[in-house]
């Protein structure tokens, strides 16, 4: 391992710590509930996208069906809470484990598929999940579940009076997803994943257990996304199949990573920091009329960024650095 990589990793960790502290101080200055909501969603999507990036970016298995794991996290938590009185924290953990198990069970047949066959299989399985939940009466079917209000408490992870606890949880989740990525990047798994992404056949011949690598990435990715789903359900206090398992979540998890830089450590955070506030602002300022202007702006941005910066916005930073530094400063 060359020295510059270790230097970069230490620097990344330092930057992340500084950013996390700064973000943690944000509520001191932001009192507006509307803006707080945007910050919470931005942190949540950054965490989701970071998790999605583990399987789809690092390991190269593009999933457009991660809404399934998001929904499983949300539904496990709320079904356990409303039907059996299990505290959301246990439901959250249980949902994460269940999502990881399902991801591996699905991975068993899915990881034999390549390219578009794999992508379509992930879309299709999430649609099946959505349809089943819409028709599952015990789980509220299409009407969904309203989470009963039991008063503000960390124990029940429910807060009516302030958004700040949700903000700090979302921040913690974002830090966790980032740290897991950072940690895995330099592990045996991280190198295996990149090898599998670049050339699975060559990786296999060099002794990388391709199948197990994909399974590992799928499990970690699904676990973290399900935690995000559980959080979202508690935050909204109401879930229905479309609002936690709809295709738009699969897309909203992928887009920040794609725009920021897929398969990079900072891409998802950067992408989410730009995309989510922009989505929310266009929706409330020009989308309110229901005339679709927000969609036009949003879609055009996706087209332009994917064409102009195929390696995402982070490539702007490395390009600028390449000019300033002598060659070889970055990976």
């Amino acid at each position: 391992m060359d020295k510059s990589f270790a230097v970069r990793r230490r620097r990344d960790l330092l930057i992340a710590a500084v950013l996390a502290v700064l973000a943690g101080l944000a509520p001191l200055f932001v009192k507006d509930v509307y803006v707080q909501n945007i910050l919470i969603l931005t942190l949540m999507y950054a965490a989701l996208s970071q998790s999605w990036n583990i399987l789809s970016g690092y390991c190269g298995q593009i999933s457009l069906g991660h809404a399934l794991y998001f929904g499983i996290g949300a539904y496990t938590t709320e079904l356990l809470f409303t039907k059996f009185g299990v505290l959301p924290w246990f439901g959250m953990l249980g949902g994460g484990v269940l999502a990881a198990i399902i991801a591996m069970a699905l991975g068993y047949p899915f990881f034999r598929l390549r390219g578009h066959y794999f992508v379509i299989a992930t879309i299709v399985i999430a649609e099946i999940g959505l349809l089943l939940f819409q028709n599952w009466d015990w789980a509220g079917a299409a009407l969904g579940i309203t989470i009963p209000v039991r008063g503000d408490s960390w124990l029940k992870f429910q807060f009516m009076r302030s958004k700040l606890p949700y903000f700090y949880f979302a921040l913690a989740l974002c830090c966790l997803a980032w740290f897991v990525t950072w940690w895995l990047e330099d592990s045996k798994w991280g190198f295996w994943w990149r090898a599998v992404k670049d050339n699975p056949d060559a990786a296999e011949s060099l002794g990388v257990v391709v199948f197990n690598s994909k399974m590992g990435a799928a499990a970690v990715s699904a676990f973290l996304v399900a935690i995000g789903g559980a959080f979202y359900a508690q935050y909204l206090a109401y879930i229905d199949p479309e609002s936690v398992m709809g295709f738009q979540f699969s897309l909203l998890m992928a887009l920040p990573a794609v725009l920021g830089g897929i398969g990079t450590l900072w891409g998802p955070v950067l992408g989410a920091a730009i995309l989510i506030p922009m989505t929310e602002l266009t929706r409330s300022y020009i989308g309110g009329s229901g005339r679709g202007v927000d969609l036009i702006v949003y879609g055009a941005l996706i087209v332009l960024i994917s064409l102009a910066l195929p390696q995402g916005l982070v490539s702007l930073f490395s390009r600028a650095k390449a000019k300033n530094h002598v060659k070889g400063a970055t990976r």
Binding site: Y117, I262, S306
Partner: protein
């Protein structure tokens, strides 16, 4: 459940399946030509349906007559999309697959937004067309005329496409470009031109399908989304890039949907299609007629 009811639903499923094949074939054609999946395919269908609707509403042109016009308009549109977007997406040196998926996906979102902006999110339909609402009865089986004519148009379009690819110069250029885009340049074929015409042809086929769909389906900005996933499944089921595969895939999807609707609640009818897709690719990871 009587034998009559089963035959009735299989017949409807077959007709719908032929239409699914026609919706999907443009996708298969483009993929076979240049390994690109057009994630705005459903929105191509959507604008074709709107075009048919407005030709009817403003000029009282029946969908049956406007179908060729709509197909021609979509041909131009497809070629322009290639020249303005896809051509650049294919030049991406990094993350090529990702760039193709998201540049066409972004286009789909823009098109939906534009449709909402200009046409409003209202549901529209063509109330009084020559075919709309009429049925034909064959030996006690009722077949709706729009679907019946649609199925015939689909068969004709596939036959025409087969002839076109195998018997014309442009068809041969298409085949040659798909086999080796580098080598065709050496014999004086402009790769970009063939690709643009391929996109035009693919869009024209979905335009034809859209004109027929407009007769019996509601027209609204998100209508493409519901058919797009079926189209991807159809193409993947047949084997990406195989034009004949899209035809067979469409028929399978139509029949499976009809059978599922017989045994499961109607709201679950798509589950059958998705399950069959998964089953097929688990056994044959490159679809039924895809090359291994």
């Amino acid at each position: 459940m009587t034998a009559q009811a089963i035959i009735q639903s299989l017949a409807s499923g077959l007709l719908m399946g032929l239409l699914y094949g026609l919706i999907a074939v443009g996708l298969a054609l483009i993929f076979g030509l240049m390994d690109v999946v057009n994630f705005a395919h459903g929105e191509f269908l959507m604008i074709a349906m709107y075009a048919t609707f407005f030709l009817f509403a403003f000029f009282a042109i029946d969908p049956l007559l406007s179908a060729p016009l709509v197909a021609a308009a979509l041909f131009v549109f497809g070629a322009v999309v290639y020249l303005l977007i896809v051509r650049f997406a294919m030049r991406a040196k990094a993350n090529a697959g990702m760039v193709q998926i998201f540049s066409t996906f972004g286009l789909a979102i823009v098109m939906r937004g534009l449709a909402q902006f200009f046409f409003t999110p209202d549901y529209r339909s063509i109330p009084q067309s020559w075919l709309g609402g009429k049925t034909v009865s064959v030996a006690g089986i009722f077949l709706p005329e729009p679907q019946l004519i649609g199925a015939l148009v689909s068969i004709a379009a596939f036959a025409g496409l087969y002839f076109f690819i195998n018997r014309t110069d442009f068809g041969r250029a298409l085949e040659a470009t798909r086999e080796d885009p580098g080598a065709v340049a050496l014999v004086g074929i402009d790769k970009n031109r063939v690709f643009a015409l391929g996109w035009g042809l693919g869009a024209a086929l979905v335009g034809l399908a859209g004109a027929i769909m407009a007769v019996f389906f509601y027209i609204y900005p998100d209508v493409g989304a519901s058919f797009a996933l079926i189209a991807y499944v159809t193409v993947a089921l047949g084997g990406f890039g195989s034009v004949f595969g899209a035809f067979a895939g469409g028929i399978i999807v139509g029949l499976v949907e009809a059978v599922t609707a017989l045994v499961l609640p109607p709201s679950l009818k798509s589950v059958g299609i998705y399950a069959v897709y998964l089953l097929v690719v688990f056994i044959r990871p490159r679809g039924l007629f895809g090359s291994m």
